[in-house]
């Protein structure tokens, strides 16, 4: 067992974990933050995407111990003081989801991406979400949701 200290959505957690415990299982099962989903366990689908120290990463292929001393943001941490983050608002307004399973990963990828590129082109957005698969909606409305969020963020929406 290894001892880790991780800040998740602004709250510090210490835990004793098996070295082989995946970060996604730590988040979902130890912390009960079940918004982060598991789709493929192989980094292909992106349903498990979270943001670690400002960068999007796939939590199904990272060990919990690798998050020791780090700061993690999950989908549950996007809404602040009862106010949706613009990326959440974008998905709601532009119908960027159907079954909702890929959505948390899409949101977290978008959250991190729009910080590095605040006004992306459609092509750039499509490239940014190439590691996140959606099987229901198709990507048109997801791209629109990103564009909505980018615009809102530029106007100082969050």
């Amino acid at each position: 067992m290894a001892s880790i200290k991780v800040r998740v959505n602004g709250v510090e957690h210490t835990a004793e974990v098996e070295p082989r415990l995946l970060l996604v299982h730590f988040l979902r099962e130890n912390l009960r933050l079940t918004g982060t989903h598991i789709g493929c366990e192989t980094s292909h689908c992106g349903a498990c995407t979270v943001v670690m120290d400002g960068k999007a990463l796939k939590s199904c292929t990272v060990f919990a111990i690798q998050a020791n001393g780090r700061e993690i943001l999950t989908v549950e941490g996007l809404e602040q003081d009862g106010k949706l983050h613009p990326i959440q608002e974008g998905f709601f307004q532009e119908h960027g989801l159907q079954c909702g399973y890929c959505t948390p990963g899409m949101l977290m990828t978008g959250y991190a991406y729009l910080q590095s590129n605040p006004s992306p082109s459609e092509d750039e957005i499509r490239h940014a979400i190439s590691g996140n698969l959606c099987r229901c909606t198709g990507y048109v409305n997801i791209v629109k949701a990103y564009q909505y969020a980018a615009q809102k963020l530029q106007q100082g929406g969050a």
């Binding site: 098996e18 082989r20 415990l21 299982h25 979902r28 099962e29 009960r32 933050l33 079940t34 918004g35 982060t36 989903h37 598991i38 789709g39 493929c40 366990e41 192989t42 292909h44 689908c45 349903a47 999950t74 989908v75 549950e76 996007l78 809404e79 949706l84 959440q88 998905f91 709601f92 119908h95 989801l97 159907q98 079954c99 909702g100 399973y101 890929c102 959505t103 948390p104 949101l107 698969l133 959606c134 099987r135 229901c136």
Partner: protein, 530 residues
């Protein structure tokens, strides 16, 4: 169309924000792997690396020696309760766990029950299975040859891999259209096997309460009511029937038909919960999902179309071999073994047609459900449209003009197709003309001609389809005496709020919103109160 209701009522035609989205965008959906119950155990499955092999021995000792591994369940264990086989919806049989041999790669061989997900996986790695590989048959055409090894040795007296033969239509009249035809086109079409790959894999949490004798299963299922009846058929003899079973289908991460079947993992999890009295969770991983879960298509079609020089179609002849894997486990609610494949005359007015389909066993997973595959309408539409293109090419006619010539005409409705379908209404030529006007078809053809002169390639494709969508009416469609469980219960409560329950299950389509809008439209309650 102007909405009939006010914005506050929010009936059909109003743009209403989805009721589902507030939870999904906050990570507050409730999918099956989010369900956690006290004392819950975890199940993981040992799968076969062989597509066809005799199981000579299963050594569970090393797995059982791992702290936290509680049991290794094999087919022999289930056989004690006669639960090692289960019926399919097509009156065939499917293994829950094998006692003798495996029939496809990644078939379930044994299951490990443990206190945690990780220990269950350790247990799976430690189970040692000895196999004697057998000859593998994956090509259904070869499976039907006389010298092919017989796969279903469990079926007494079975001497081949033929499941059923089905034919429909007037053979003599069809053959006559071919002998009198000016032009015949023929095509071999293989529509390959595909997997839906919903982002959420399949899984369940089964909880049997030993005191009440009731079983509750949270399950990734698109058809909870049919599943309840299937469970009753599988386990009725051990006292579990509909009145003791509740199937809860929580939020589902995509279905596409892949979440209709009863997978062996569900049944093993239920059996494990019944034996232990504890909740048991089974969640398959992506590799299991892609290798073992229900498929779509896998139709080997030979199709011919007969016509006259002037472009008039006269006859259609189709012979198909349907690869069902090792058992016919389609979820086909029609009375025909090949679903509604005989909708294959599509939108065209044909004099005669004849369809033959033969089902074959192979060493592949069962299914034939995904993407409405049990209905076989997609296969039918593809076939007739491919032939229509070939025929127009053969005749040197424009494919749109050719279709216009052969469409059922508006004045022919109600129309009875040569294969017996009743078409109530339609204006196919009008619809195609509208589409052509909208995209500027004539200009596109000019552009294509110019490009081709320059040596550039440009393709223009046309397809029209008439098919049966959904599976109604219930007088014609039925699964296990449930019809299609298409039902609704609407209750208005004293404060004027409405609770509605439905027999259909959303896999992301937004039923909560759509049905609320229909109720708002019809009964006048505000959509927010439903």
């Amino acid at each position: 169309m102007e909405p009939r209701t006010s914005a506050e009522i929010g009936g059909m035609g109003h743009s209403v924000k989805r009721k589902e989205d507030p939870r999904f965008i906050r990570g507050q959906g409730n999918y099956v792997d989010d369900v956690v119950l006290p004392d819950m155990l975890y199940l993981d499955i040992v799968r076969s690396p062989y597509a066809h092999a005799k199981i000579s021995n299963i050594d569970t000792s090393k797995a059982l020696a791992i702290p936290g591994v509680l049991a290794v369940i094999t087919g022999q264990d289930l056989a004690k309760y006669n639960l090692h086989w289960m019926p399919t919806l097509m009156s065939d049989t499917q293994m829950v766990l094998p006692v003798e041999k495996v029939m496809y790669q990644a078939q379930e061989v044994a299951a490990v029950l443990a206190t945690t997900r990780y220990i269950a996986a350790d247990g799976v790695d430690a189970v040692e299975v000895d196999y004697d590989p057998l000859e593998v048959v994956v090509d259904p055409k070869k499976a039907l040859l006389p010298d092919a090894p017989v796969l279903r040795t469990d079926k007494e007296g079975k001497e081949d891999n033929h499941i059923w033969h089905w034919e429909w239509g007037d053979k003599a009249a069809t053959d006559k259209t071919f002998s009198e035809a000016d032009v015949v086109v023929k095509e071999e079409i293989y529509i390959p096997r595909i997997n839906v790959a919903s982002i959420e894999t399949c899984g369940c949490v089964a909880h049997f309460n030993k005191v009440s004798g009731k079983l509750t299963v949270w399950m990734t299922t698109q058809a909870p009511h049919a599943i309840r009846t299937v469970f009753a058929l599988v386990a009725g003899h051990v006292g579990l029937a509909e009145h003791k079973i509740q199937i809860i289908s929580p939020d589902i991460g995509g279905g596409f038909g892949g979440k209709v079947p009863v997978y062996p993992g569900y049944v093993i999890a239920v059996a494990a919960s019944v034996l232990t009295g504890k909740p048991v969770k089974w969640i398959e991983d992506r590799m299991e999902n892609l290798q073992a879960d229900s498929f779509a298509r896998d139709y080997h079609i030979t199709a011919e179309l007969a016509g006259k020089k002037d472009g008039r179609l006269t006859g259609l002849r189709i012979k198909t071999i349907a690869d069902h894997g090792y058992t016919d486990a389609a979820a086909n609610p029609s009375k025909f073994p090949a679903g509604l494949f005989h909708i294959c005359t599509g939108s065209y007015d044909l004099k005669a047609a004849h369809v033959e389909v033969d089902g074959a066993y192979t060493n592949k997973p069962p299914g034939g459900i995904a993407y409405r595959c049990s209905f076989r309408v997609t296969e039918a539409v593809h076939t007739i449209e491919r032939l229509a293109d070939l025929m127009s090419h053969e005749l040197g006619m424009d494919p749109a003009e050719f279709r216009m010539k052969n469409f059922i005409k508006p004045e022919q409705f109600p129309y009875k197709s040569t294969l017996g379908w009743e078409y109530d209404s339609g204006n196919y030529a009008g619809a195609l003309q509208l589409a052509m006007d909208k995209i500027g078809y004539a200009d596109l053809r000019k552009e294509q001609a110019e490009k081709r002169k320059r040596g550039e390639l440009m393709g223009i494709g046309i397809s029209s389809f008439t098919e049966i969508v959904g599976a109604g009416p219930s007088k014609h469609f039925d699964i296990l005496g449930l019809k299609m469980f298409d039902s609704a219960e609407i209750r208005v409560h004293p404060t004027g709020k409405v609770i509605a329950r439905f027999g259909t299950k959303s896999q992301g389509q937004g039923h909560e919103t759509t049905y609320a809008q229909i109720i708002a439209e019809e009964l006048g309650f505000p959509v927010a109160d439903i």
